[in-house]
């Protein structure tokens, strides 16, 4: 019923392909997030699902039925727009009921649904106001209400939180997630903010230049990024990377910047001298304290370049090879610029990417 399936969907504008053969199967009741940098084709993909944009090639199925030729209103979908698309001349009540009035839903039923939605979102006291008399967060709620009241099993959202301030955004994130779970809606949610994707999604799809980079659970994507792009897109600060060289032989491993050697037994098949990229998450790099016994190859000295103390954690910057790396440590560390420290890491958290294609050499799928 509420399953959405994209089969190699593409979108051409003139001669330019802005969405390239995107495939995905979104399960009923799933919170699915499309994430990627600006201009990667997220909105275009979402609008093709909604029916606001024609699908150039490929097939869209909703509940198993082909939908390419079905108008937006026949797709059982509601949508929340980035700027909310509230009708400025109508009251909150009429805004929420607009769709039901158009579909000539019974008056009593309209009243019942309105009451329920207003209560759910805490906007009962705003029903007689016009949108311009509302705050950003309240408008957001009305837009949500309008999507919910239709009782469609599928809901699309295009960057619905981008107009809100940071605190409200965090609050609405949990609220949207709660509503989605309470109502069992299939949600397809677009954002360029990886934090949103990580915190809200059941599964996320990372897009770049119209191409799918990776689909998976947020933690899987975070821990096992399929390629360099995904690695550097996720996390705040993003994954640290540095070009390195693979050394085969009985003592296999990678050599960073011609000095440091890290024995890594797990990759086979790569030839000696293959250029690779080494990646480590900021929180994987921890300070090595004196008297702690750590494998010497998993430890290296760094010269501190900068320190940001954020209260509960501290970001320490240093260079590795010719790249600026960041490490994230719990607590407040009063390091000085120019100070030399030892950092260590768990070899299990090392990611190695192909130097040319950027593919993660450990992730075999995809």
């Amino acid at each position: 019923m509420a399953e959405v399936e994209l089969r190699r969907i593409s979108k051409m504008y003139g001669g330019q392909k802005v969405v390239n053969e995107v495939s995905a199967r979104i399960l009923p009741g799933e919170f699915f997030v499309l994430v990627g940098p600006s201009g990667c084709g997220k909105s275009t993909t979402l609008r093709m699902i909604a029916g606001l944009e024609e699908i150039s090639t490929g097939e869209l199925l909703i509940g198993g039925k082909p939908m390419n030729q079905v108008p937006p209103s026949g797709r059982n979908i509601s949508m929340v727009f980035q700027n909310y698309a509230l009708y400025p001349h109508l009251t909150v009540k009429d805004n929420i009921l607009f769709g039901l009035q158009v579909r000539k839903v019974d008056k009593a039923e309209q009243g019942k649904r309105l009451e329920r939605v207003a209560e759910m979102l805490g906007i009962a006291h705003l029903l007689q106001r016009k949108p311009k008399e509302l705050s950003g967060g309240q408008r957001q709620r009305v837009a949500l209400g309008r999507a919910i009241v239709s009782q469609h099993p599928i809901c699309l959202m295009d960057e619905p939180l981008s107009n809100l301030d940071a605190k409200l955004r965090g609050h609405m994130r949990t609220e949207i997630r709660r509503l989605q779970q309470e109502l069992g809606i299939t949600m397809i949610y677009v954002t360029h903010d990886q934090v949103e994707a990580m915190t809200m999604a059941d599964r996320m799809m990372v897009l770049r230049d119209g191409e799918v980079q990776q689909v998976g659970k947020p933690l899987d994507v975070y821990n096992h990024p399929a390629n360099l792009f995904v690695a550097e897109f996720t996390g705040a600060p993003p994954m640290n990377t540095v070009p390195a060289i693979w050394r085969a032989g009985d003592q296999a491993g990678i050599e960073v910047a011609g000095q440091h050697f890290l024995p890594l037994p797990m990759f086979h098949g790569s030839k000696d001298q293959t250029p690779v990229v080494l990646g480590l998450r900021p929180e994987s790099l921890q300070p090595a304290l004196e008297g702690q016994s750590v494998d010497a190859s998993c430890q290296f000295p760094v010269t501190v370049q900068g320190v940001e103390i954020l209260g509960s954690e501290t970001i320490v910057e240093f260079t590795v090879g010719d790249k600026l790396w960041k490490a994230k440590w719990n607590g407040q560390w009063h390091c000085k610029r120019g100070e030399t420290m030892h950092v260590h890491f768990d070899p299990a958290q090392v990611n190695v990417f192909d130097g040319e294609t950027g593919k993660n050499l450990a992730v075999t799928t995809n």
């Binding site: 909604a50 937006p72 980035q82 698309a85 009708y87 400025p88 607009f98 769709g99 158009v102 016009k130």
Partner: protein, 295 residues
């Protein structure tokens, strides 16, 4: 003390900034209006070498003047004939021009061009169109087997002929305002409505039209004042005839002032017209404004 001076300085600055427009406003708007108002209580025709005060005689005469009533009735019919039609037509044209994908700019230009043509030229063009026997309209009527009709020479037809011409002339101008108004409506609203499956009529009735109300209001006021202001064509086409059948208030004022040289009476007529326009504008502004949504 110092505070007062500072305040005075700020005020002074404001007055200085206002001065240029104030001068023009006083010189060319308020002063003539007041002069006209005063003159309307004077006898100032060819028979009186110096204007002298005669109370409300001019107004009394006016009420008894059949031509005045005829001209006023004409003008009201002219307004009723031109305002709603040209505004509605402009809206329709704007909706179409906004929608038509190909040849968008051509359609816009075609609709707009009557506006650029001076009224005097328009009058000459339509004078030819309406000419009996060899005029363009007569030719068309002949194809339909209709007899020859004298559009401008017939008391029954002349007003219709004028109304039609003015609608043609004005609708394109008003369309531009509607086009601008349409551009201001966010595309998201239409997309949202299409997700709900609203028909084009519903979308127009519940979204487009209410959101265009400010434009409609503005355009209606212009159209209404124009229906009292536009008289250039009368000079070319009918001179208000036959038997004042096409005469309008402003042209009658002009005739009174510069053909009959009765300045006092002309002033009184002018005051009547100004008050009439103010009343209608005030009604539209204060009466309808509350119902309109402004962004």
């Amino acid at each position: 003390m110092g505070e007062l001076r500072a305040k005075w300085k700020v005020n002074m600055y404001a007055w200085l900034l206002l001065l240029p427009s104030l001068i023009f406003l006083l010189l060319f708007t308020f002063y003539p209006v007041i002069q006209t108002f005063i003159l309307s209580f004077h006898q100032a025709d060819l028979g009186s070498p110096e204007p002298f005060f005669n109370g409300i005689d001019n107004y009394k005469q006016m009420v008894e003047d059949e031509v005045f009533w005829k001209v006023l009735t004409n003008n009201i019919w002219f307004a009723i004939g031109t305002v709603p039609t040209s505004v509605a037509l402009a809206l329709g044209m704007a909706l179409f021009a906004n929608k038509a994908l190909r040849g968008k700019s051509f359609i816009r230009t075609a609709y707009f061009y009557p506006t650029v043509v001076p009224m005097i030229a328009v009058a000459n063009i339509w004078l030819f169109i309406y000419t009996p026997e060899y005029g363009a309209l007569s030719h068309v009527m002949e194809w339909f087997g209709k007899g020859d009709m004298n559009w401008l020479g017939d008391q029954k037809n002349v007003m219709w002929a004028m109304i039609f011409m003015v609608i043609w002339k004005e609708a394109g101008y008003f369309m531009i305002f509607y086009l601008a108004g349409l551009q201001n409506i966010s595309q998201e609203l239409y997309e949202s409505a299409s997700m709900e499956g609203a028909s084009s009529w519903t979308v127009f009735r519940r979204i487009t039209f209410p959101l265009l109300m400010p434009t409609t209001m503005f355009v209606s006021i212009i159209a209404f004042t124009n229906s009292f202001k536009l008289v250039d064509h009368l000079v070319i086409m009918t001179k208000g005839g036959p038997d004042n059948a096409s005469n309008l208030l402003l042209y009658y004022i002009y005739e009174t002032a510069f053909s009959f040289w009765d300045q006092g009476m002309a002033s009184a007529l002018t005051i009547v017209m100004v008050v009439l326009l103010l009343l209608v504008a005030a009604f539209q502004f204060f009466g309808m404004d509350k119902k309109i949504h402004y962004n």
